[in-house]
Structures are given as structure tokens and as C-alpha cells.
Amino acid sequence: MSGARKHRSVGGTGNLAVLKPFSLHNAAPSAWRLQPGHGYMLFAALVLFVLVGEVQAAPARPSIIATMWKWTPFLLQGFAFNILISFVSIIIGTMAGAALGLGQISVSRPIRAVSWTVTQFFRNAPWLVLLFYCIFLIPFEFELFGVTIPFPAWIKAVIGLSLPVMANFSEIVRGAVQSIPDGQWEAAESLAYTRRQTLWLIVLPQCIKRMLPPWMNLYAVLTMATPLVSIVGVGEGMTTTGEILAAENRSDLLIPFYMYLLCLFFIYCYPIARWTISLERKFAVKI
């Protein structure tokens, strides 16, 4: 543990008064496994908020913990839909983003320019605006060879979430390919590999390792963006929470239930974040 916490010194500049390399994840704990402390912290936060509510509760009503327990299956059902949306979006976004990213490193100038423009545009537009864009501008059904294909809102929402994922993944792919030293390309060329062979057999396999941590980070960001679909009328965890609160109609439940949903997301996303950091450290190029 203490070894991993030490800074990696670059070249011979270890003790000189110059700036060290900037790294976002140096000081975080080294192992990704969750320590009991995290559980205690989360539990303490939840208990604190339930107690705050409990104090305000009128004595004749059922207790807050019982109410939360009663609604748990319903809430988890809504949360499962969040996860489903995140899965479908990351799959679509990753495939489209990989194509766009390869377009960004294409030898043809027009393809490169178009891919770059598309990537920058979708990367810099807010997620919520893109979501509105897809919900309003994609028709609710398609006519294809005389067959009407329905296009429900949740599919449009998934597409809306996939667009920024696509653009971000495109940048990840471009960054990873460009981080492979030129020597690899030159060595492959001297062995008579074509450009396509070099890309598929030599460069991309090395990129997978480099792309994994940022891709997982992107997935966590996407999962945290999934409640946005509730704004455009697609049911998920946030909608479920709203429905529960409307059904119970008790102001003392507000804080515990929102906190409950926040904790669900935290429990899902935090391990991913820790795992990402540990992978990042494992794959880091040691200088």
C-alpha cells in the first residue's frame, strides 16, 4: 500500500525543485476493493437522513424505515431500468464511436474532417439538449418496405444518450491510437503489413488496454446521466421515486427517499470508479 502511494519520479528529476507530472488519481487508495469504512460512511449518511425524517414524523404514521422497505422492490425495478438504458446506450454508443474514432484517424482528409466535426459537435452539446433533440425530432414510427416499425420514446431516449457517448468514445479511440508510438507503425511497415493489417493486428490490440479505463469512466458518467430520460417522459428510477412520493404524500419522506435513490446510484457507480482507478494504475506506462 505504502509503495503504491509513493510518487513515480520521472527520469532523474526526482529531487529537483521542478514540477512533477500531473496525475488525477495518484493519492487515491491503491486497491479498488471496497473497505468497510465506505460501507459505514454510507450507512451513517442514510441513518442520519432517516433520523432527520423520523424526528419530523407524526407518531400515528407508519415508520419511515417500514415505508422504505415496503417500496424497495418498486424502486429497485425503476433503478433496474436505469441500468438497462445505460447498457443499451453504451453498446450503441461504443460501436458508433469506434467507427467515428477510426474515421478521425483515416488517411482520407474529407472523412477525417467530417468525423472530427461530428465528434466535436456532439461532445460539446449538453446531454439534455441532445436528448430533447432526439425525443422531438425522431418520428414515433418508421415506414420501411410497407412495414410500420414503432419507435417508442424509450428507444429515442436511448439514441439520445448514445450520441454524446459516441462522440466521447470517438475521442478515446483517437487518443489511444495516437498514443501508440510511431515505431510500431514503422516496424509493421518494414514487415510488409498493409495499413489495414497494421491497424487491426498491431495497433488496435494494444489500444484496448489503454481505452478500457476511460471507457469505464464514460460508462459511469452515462449511468449518472440516465435519470435525464425522466425529464422527457420515460419512466425509470427517478420517475419511480416521484410516484412513490406522490402515493405516500408525506413531506417527511422526501429526504429519505431521494437519499435512498442517491445511495443506489452510489452503490452502483462507486465500485466502477474505484476499479477504473486501479486499472489505470495497472496499465500506466512506468517511466
Binding site: 525543485a17 488525477l24 460539446n124 413531506s251 462507486y270
Partner: protein, 248 residues
């Protein structure tokens, strides 16, 4: 000016492209007000989140174990939960249980308005990322520098403000830049609690004028433009603050 407005009116009549925000004075004022609100919200959140970042990073270097643990808990919680649910939590849950206060005309109103809640929630969200960024910047400053400051009689706070922070700030500007761009994009979330920002006024306009397609494109280009302006200014600033001998 009038000629430009009437050209857009002609565009609508001749080609059906309804850009009412240009020729209709009501929509123009609404849209302009929304743009101002978005800029105001962004600027407030940028300043507040940078302050949270600087203070949080300072607290993390504290000798007391619990201060840094508390800050770490804050960072991890806000980084790993959806900003939308955070906003709902602040506005509906905390805002809902706060006692109401009488306003100037005697009506009972919530003590904190929706704009303020949006500013608070988004600042805390972006601030959590900023603490991490500043901490990484501080770690890039070698220990010998702060030791030298100590040898010259600087206190811990003084050496943080005058020696470490100016250096750390320059190192972490690119990362900070990224996060602030994200923050500007996240201000759209204020839509859900009816803050009259760009997305909200646009939705009002397209409900009145039925020009969803035009407004959507205007919105996308406006946000890309806003982000472009921010990135341009940050790059200029980065260049001005550049430490000689670092980077190309």
C-alpha cells in the same frame, strides 16, 4: 437592424423556417433573457465551484485525519451520484422541509429560490471534481518548494496561498478547463426546477410557436457557441499564465 429582423420574417414566409427569436420581439426578449440567465448561472457556478475546489484541496492537506476524510466523502458522494438527482434532492427534499418565510407582500415563500438552489447544487457537483483537480495540481508541486517557503518563515496557509497554489493552478488549468466546460453544459439541468435558462425559455418558445426543429438547432448551436467562447478564453488565460520552460 430592422432589415435583419424582417429578413427572418421573409425567411419564414418564403421557406417556412420559423426563427421567431429574431423577428418576434417577445420571443427575442425571452430568448435573450434565457441566454443571460444561463451565462449568469454558469459564471456563479464557475466561481463558487473553483472556491470549493481551492478550499477543499487546502482542507485535504490538513494534518487532521477526519478533515480530509470528510472532504473525501464529499467528493466521492457527489462524483458518483447523478447530478439530476442531486438537484432534486436539494430543491425538493431540503428545500421542501425548510420553513417558509413571509416575503415583502406577506406571502409565505420558500427561503431559497429555484435559481439559488440550482447554483448551490451545480456548484457542489462541479466543486467535487475541482477539489480532485486542485489536489492533483498541488501534488505536482515538489515538497522542496514548500520546504523552502517554510524556511523563509511562511506559515502553512501563507505558503499555500502565495507559493503552492499559484504553481498548482497553472498545472491543473487544462483539467479545470474540461470540468468548467462540463459545468456549463450541466446548467441545462436547471430546466427541471423551472429556472428560466436557455433550455427552459426555448421550450416555452417552441410550445407557443410550434417551431421545435428550428429552436432545437438554435439551442444546439448556442450551447456549442457558449462552450467555444469559454474554451477560447480559458486557452488565452492558459497562455498568459504559462510557466516559462514548461510545455511547448
Amino acid at each position: 437592424m430592422e432589415a435583419i429582423w424582417s429578413w427572418f420574417e421573409w425567411l419564414y414566409e418564403a421557406h417556412g423556417v420559423n426563427l421567431s427569436i429574431f423577428y418576434d420581439s417577445l420571443d427575442r426578449d425571452r430568448f435573450f433573457f434565457g441566454l443571460l440567465t444561463t451565462i449568469r448561472l454558469s459564471l456563479i457556478c464557475i466561481v463558487a465551484s473553483v472556491v470549493i475546489g481551492v478550499v477543499g484541496a487546502w482542507l485535504q492537506t490538513s494534518r487532521f485525519k477526519w478533515t480530509s476524510r470528510l472532504v473525501q466523502g464529499y467528493i466521492q458522494f457527489f462524483r458518483n451520484t447523478p447530478p439530476l438527482v442531486q438537484l432534486y434532492f436539494f430543491f425538493f427534499a431540503i428545500g421542501g422541509v425548510l420553513p417558509k418565510v413571509p416575503d415583502a407582500s406577506g406571502h409565505m415563500v420558500p427561503p431559497i429560490g429555484n435559481f439559488t438552489w440550482a447554483a448551490i447544487s451545480l456548484s457542489f457537483f462541479a466543486g467535487a471534481f475541482n477539489v480532485e483537480i486542485f489536489r492533483a495540481g498541488i501534488e505536482a508541486v515538489p515538497k522542496s518548494t514548500s520546504e523552502a517557503a517554510e524556511a523563509l518563515g511562511y506559515t502553512r496557509l501563507q505558503s499555500y496561498i502565495y507559493i503552492i497554489l499559484p504553481l498548482a493552478f497553472r498545472v491543473c488549468l487544462p483539467s479545470l478547463n474540461n470540468n468548467l466546460v462540463n459545468l456549463v453544459k450541466t446548467t441545462t439541468l436547471a430546466y427541471v426546477i423551472a429556472v428560466p435558462e436557455l433550455l427552459y425559455v426555448s421550450s416555452q418558445i417552441w410550445s407557443d410557436q410550434f417551431n421545435v426543429r428550428e429552436m432545437m438547432n438554435v439551442l444546439l448551436f448556442t450551447y456549442v457557441g457558449l462552450v467555444a467562447v469559454l474554451v477560447f478564453m480559458m486557452h488565452r488565460w492558459e497562455k498568459t499564465l504559462k510557466i516559462p520552460g514548461y510545455g511547448r
